[in-house]
Subunit: 256 residues, 2 copies
């Protein structure tokens, strides 16, 4: 059985009463001494390859407005990307966009196992517990993962501002898109800049789909949530979108 | 995060080197003092509603022949059915076939939560760990759940002897059916006496499907594995079937 690692995961507002459960797998760019800096300099450790800049601030703003529990990572995605299964090359990526990650270039199976036990298993056990406990109490939580993406990718600017990505069940993602197009002026698109085919819905596939829970992954262009003021403004906007989207799918299901 | 319960789950042969991971959610008919006998008499606690008679012996026979780790339950499925999610009525069933379960008739949300924490979460965290660790080491485990079913159901005899049930991916289940029909004289059928539509593939959906792992659920009629001799004979037979079925799907994938 896995041995939970002190501090591998943080739950904020675990008893919050709202319908959403918020997840931020790429919240942090910390490189604990146990694993070192992977041979990266300060600029690389601050770049989008190491974390999703702005995502945690946005997630906290949403959590406050939606009375939602928030679970988030405490270490860089380059040590272990919690949105990837252990067998994925991307779980401990040796290359990300235009960067190479020296400390991940020649990882032994034992090193992969050690990071899996230290980071992946405790994070997903904690999230599983958060969800299962709500289910046992007769609640029906909605799982939302919160990410940010870089405005420039391989030298090309991205026009999309707000991506909504779904796993097996597209209903909530489509409702979020509709509400975003109605309520905001964001360039919102379904399954951009990534989709489930890019392996990015692992958390949803692992935690929400098998339980039959509504879910979606949100991707916000990180230049739009670069500071706390921007994060708060975006949180106010997206909290309203999420509330309306959930009401929309609930109404559709009741009608159906 | 869940607090693992001492003895809620047993792993035998956790370091075994074969490709299969065996799971027996209904291995036991123990009623620990913590939850009591749920108002059931000795005959009911020994009946198929409380566990899958013969399944653990068969699973152990398979584990020995396949060099497989085996994870199994230690308490009755009537206290918590580990093959059901916490929101399912069947997780803590108030009724099973022709029996009522007094101790489950008026469970409070808090009691459901307590059993979920004590039994469901530790079992599935342990299985997740077993699987994830193999994945981190570059292995590709095959998840097989082992069950038995009663020969008489609501007064009607069942002709099927060996049911092979699949979740989203039918490939391995179909190969097992083909091998069972070739190698044995068992009345083997796909998705009988239950199917995924009956909620019986929760463990597969939770543990195997999100990881992209081959998987199947085996259901053996319990009169065919009523004692150790019969369990050993069935294990010898089904170990050969499983080995050949895995070779068959592996060959098909390589050819495709």
């Amino acid at each position: 059985m896995e041995e939970p690692t002190e501090g591998a995961v943080v739950i904020e507002g675990g008893a919050a009463a709202g319908p959403f459960v918020l997840v931020c797998e790429h919240a942090a760019n910390a490189f604990p001494a146990r694993w070192g800096d992977l041979g990266l300099g300060p600029a690389e450790r601050a770049a989008h390859i190491a974390w999703d800049p702005g995502a945690l601030g946005l997630a906290r703003g949403l959590a406050a407005r939606l009375q939602a529990p928030l679970i988030h990572a405490t270490t860089s995605r380059l040590i272990y990307d919690l949105n990837r299964p252990p067998q994925s090359q991307g779980a401990m990526a040796a290359r990300s966009e235009i960067y190479t990650i020296p400390g991940n270039a020649t990882l032994s199976p034992e090193a992969r196992l050690e990071r899996t036990r230290a980071l992946y298993l405790p994070f997903h056990a904690a999230l599983r517990g958060l969800i299962a406990e709500r289910l046992a109490l007769g609640q029906n939580p909605v799982v939302i993962t919160i990410h940010s993406f870089t405005p420039i990718w391989h030298g090309e600017p991205r026009a999309v501002e707000f991506g909504i990505i779904h796993d097996a069940d597209p209903a909530l993602a489509r409702a979020i898109l509709t509400e975003a197009q109605t309520q905001t002026s964001l360039d919102a698109r379904l399954n951009e800049p990534y989709s489930a085919a890019d392996e990015v819905t692992h958390t949803l596939a692992l935690q929400a789909t098998p339980m039959g829970l509504r879910n979606a992954m949100l991707e916000i262009r990180n230049d739009l949530i670069a500071d706390e003021t921007a994060q708060e403004a975006m949180a106010a906007c997206l909290a309203s979108v999420l509330r309306a989207a959930l009401a929309r799918v609930s109404a559709t299901e009741e009608a159906g």
